[in-house]
């Protein structure tokens, strides 16, 4: 018994054998040993012991997924406290097939168990299960059929993937039959990139399945804002991805893949200078930007325009980050935050300088 993989299995009221729709509101309940699909798990894998089963109603979880997941984590902790032999190596949930509420329940449970207990989890669902929209990135979910007809295959796959998880092995969607998580991970291929590229080209020329290693992303497009009605009255702000920061880089913004943006005052400054500012960007030759930082953050000409009445006024705060090897995801979040802050202080237009 000691050498077996210990599993706690989470099921809904139906597969847990407690009833149908009318029992959907059931709070989490602990049962010793395997129930329903859990028996199949043990049948398939002699080296797995389902030490306990938690059954929870679909509606209970759908109505308060976070609280429900917390209760289940607490329930597992309580069982372990009572009997250390119940500490699971793996938590399984489902299969949920295409059932939306059950899928959400499995997703919430798996995420909470992984994050709060650090125990690996595996579930199974149909690729169209709506729970994937919410939990895709954190879930190891094997592909399952739409309904209970796919039970045997789904449990089979859960067992296989679960054993790999317990062994600490990497799971790869294309090889393990899991639902892709939208996460890119490096690995060493058998052949060099050059060889793979030639073989891929030959496949393409032969009209065979190309098997691209990176499917083109879909870019989000932003509709431009309406033109500024009267620039001579507008408040302008400066924002740059060219890495112009006060000398000394007080926020320690990284030279590549910046993890933050800075927010700096321009008050009392008529222009930037080599003594006051510098570029910390790692993607371009900063010699000329450091010589005269106005070349990237054009404070000098904007002050001129302010004096001449060409613009209403310049916002006294500028924002800067480094747009070098910075992931699109991060850049989008900085853009959203900075835009909200600018709107808050009544800015109508922005000069965004990139490098």
């Amino acid at each position: 018994m000691a050498s077996k993989i210990r599993v706690i299995h989470c099921l809904n009221q139906f597969f847990g054998g407690l009833g149908g729709e009318e029992k959907g509101g059931l709070a989490p309940e602990w049962f010793a040993g395997a129930r329903g699909p859990g028996s199949l798990v043990q049948q398939i894998a002699a080296d797995i012991a389902v030490v306990g089963t938690i059954v929870v109603g679909d509606n209970y979880m759908a109505e308060h997924p976070d609280d429900g997941a917390r209760e289940i984590v607490a329930l597992i902790e309580a069982q372990i406290a009572g009997d250390p032999d119940l500490r699971p190596d793996l938590v399984m949930a489902g299969p949920a097939f295409a059932a939306g509420r059950y899928g959400m329940s499995c997703g919430a449970i798996c995420q909470a168990v992984q994050e709060q207990l650090g125990i690996p989890t595996v579930t199974a669902m149909h690729p169209d299960n709506p729970a994937l929209e919410l939990y895709r990135k954190s879930l190891t979910a094997v592909r399952a059929g739409a309904d209970v007809m796919g039970m045997r295959d789904a449990v089979d796959a859960m067992v296989r993937v679960g054993i790999k998880l317990v062994a600490g092995e990497a799971i790869v969607s294309s090889e393990d039959g899991t639902i892709p998580r939208g996460i890119r991970r490096n690995y060493f291929a058998e052949e060099t990139g050059a060889r793979r590229a030639i073989e891929m080209l030959l496949r393409k020329l032969d009209d065979e399945d190309i098997g691209t290693e990176y499917a083109m992303p879909v870019f989000s497009r932003v509709a431009p804002a309406a033109p500024v009605a009267d620039i001579a009255k507008a408040t302008l702000a400066l924002v740059t991805s060219g890495g112009i920061v006060p000398r000394g880089n007080p926020d320690r913004i990284e030279s590549a893949n910046a993890s933050k943006y800075g927010e700096y005052s321009l008050e009392g400054l008529d222009r930037l200078s080599a003594e006051s500012h510098q570029s910390v960007h790692g993607g371009y030759d900063t010699t000329y930007a450091n010589e005269d930082p106005n070349r990237v953050l054009p404070l000098d000409v904007l002050r001129d325009l302010e004096r001449e009445g060409g613009i209403g006024r310049l916002s006294e705060t500028y924002y800067a980050t480094v747009g070098n090897a910075t992931s699109v995801k991060r850049a989008e979040s900085y853009g959203r935050e900075i835009a909200a802050k600018l709107i808050n202080v009544g800015v109508q237009a922005v000069i965004l300088t990139s490098t």
């Binding site: 892709p180 490096n186 990139g193 590229a197 992303p217 030279s255 371009y284």
Partner: protein, 413 residues
């Protein structure tokens, strides 16, 4: 036209008195080499010459370039004549940071798996220049020193009998067996301001795209002078050992007809990008190629050059595949490229350069270790007091090489 390689297989390298190669042992006389380099360039104020051998607990930082020692024995034109080649060894230049985008080579430990240079005995030149030397002059001085050193070391072995004499044959088939005709579009970065490369001695900003004999690459036709991120700058060594050309030559005449190489560039201005892509596509179309393979250098801005080339090739009826790395974020959950086109449906990924790696402390370090915190791929907190480091793969030399030199790849999990 033929290119004959006189290949010397280097088993190990030693620093010592009499320079040359005897029984696979390459001896480098550090004093002679240093004097030679300094006699050619008075900007070089100090050159510390050391060896870094595979498996040693050695870290080389702020690596600028890696160069394979080769010297011309006969013939003038690049890609013809006789070239004396030292295999399994390289010259590495390092020293205080010039741009941000120099890199790390670890000779052992987890970082060593990601750089091809950990598998070679390396002659390391840790170079200082005078205080008055500008960054651009600094780059030029160190670049020339690396090339000169590699040539000097190879020339010292030129009269020794080579282990292997190899003739590199290539003649496009122009008919004959029914094989797919494949061209190679070889994109080199040409953005200026420390993002330069040199093709036949000329800055890649000008005079490209051109059609070249594939063998020219082996004969130092392309020299790296750029400070692009360490992971995907093509070092001079990568050019000298271009794996796409080597592979295409290997299968030429049996599996495909290698039609030739178009060297194209990657400029900063949109109009220049469009012009270069159109001209490159036209050169490939003139070869009557069925397919073309495109390799890349750098990331972000050059993603656009790559997409333009792929779109143009496909629209001209030429099927295309391409090699690129990814910047998918530390967690790997961001989109990976700065540009995209539906025609780019045959992509080889050589890895996510944002992925982080923990590097152990090393007993020997060449170059200024604290500068790693300023490298692209390093962080202000990268270097810990005990000498351990956390960096992105971006900071490791050649980790995501887009000529397809290595085996690293990336996939969705």
């Amino acid at each position: 036209m033929t290119l004959t390689l006189h290949r010397h297989s280097v088993q190990t390298v030693a620093l010592g008195g009499t320079a040359g190669i005897v029984g696979g042992i390459l001896t480098v006389n550090a004093d002679t080499l240093r004097s030679y380099l300094q006699s050619r360039d008075d900007r070089l104020t100090a050159i510390r010459i050391s060896l870094a051998l595979p498996g040693e607990a050695t870290r080389i930082v702020c690596v600028k370039d890696v160069v394979a020692p080769r010297a011309k024995k006969s013939g003038k034109e690049s890609g013809t004549g006789t070239l004396s080649v030292l295999d399994n060894v390289a010259v590495v230049t390092c020293g205080p940071i010039v741009g941000f985008q120099e890199g790390i080579i670890d000779m052992s430990g987890p970082g060593a798996d990601y750089t091809p240079f950990s598998r070679l005995p390396l002659v390391v030149l840790d170079i200082d220049v005078g205080d008055a030397v500008s960054p651009h002059e600094h780059e030029a001085a160190v670049r020339s020193a690396g090339l000169d050193a590699a040539e000097f070391i190879a020339r010292g072995c030129i009269d020794t009998k080579p282990d292997v004499i190899e003739t590199v044959a290539w003649e496009p088939l122009h008919g004959g067996p029914d094989l797919p005709r494949i061209a190679y579009v070889y994109m080199v970065l040409s953005q200026g301001l420390l993002h330069d490369n040199y093709v036949f001695g000329r800055n890649a900003k000008e005079g490209l795209p051109i059609l070249v004999d594939p063998r020219a690459a082996f004969d130092n036709a392309i020299v790296s002078g750029n400070c692009v991120s360490a992971c995907d700058k093509n070092t001079t060594y990568h050019h000298q050992n271009n794996p796409v050309i080597a592979e295409l030559l290997r299968g030429h005449g049996s599996r495909w007809d290698f039609a030739g190489v178009v060297i194209s560039n990657a400029a900063t201005r949109l109009a220049d990008k469009q012009r270069a892509a159109e001209a490159a596509v036209e050169l490939v179309a003139n070869m009557k190629a069925d397919g073309a393979l495109v390799s890349k250098e750098g990331f972000g801005n050059p993603d656009t050059d790559l997409m333009m080339l792929l779109r143009g090739l496909e629209q001209a009826g030429i099927r295309a595949s391409a090699i690129t790395d990814e910047f998918a974020g530390i967690e790997g959950d961001s989109q990976s490229l700065a540009d995209a086109t539906p025609e780019a449906d045959a992509i080889i990924s050589v890895g996510n350069a944002n992925e982080r790696i923990q590097l152990p402390a090393m007993t020997t370090v060449f170059g200024p270790l604290p500068d790693v915190t300023r490298l692209a791929g390093g962080y202000p907190h990268s270097l810990r007091e005990d000498g351990t480091m956390e960096v992105e793969l971006q900071a490791i030399m050649g980790s995501t090489n887009q000529l397809g030199f290595s085996r690293l790849s990336c996939r969705e999990v």
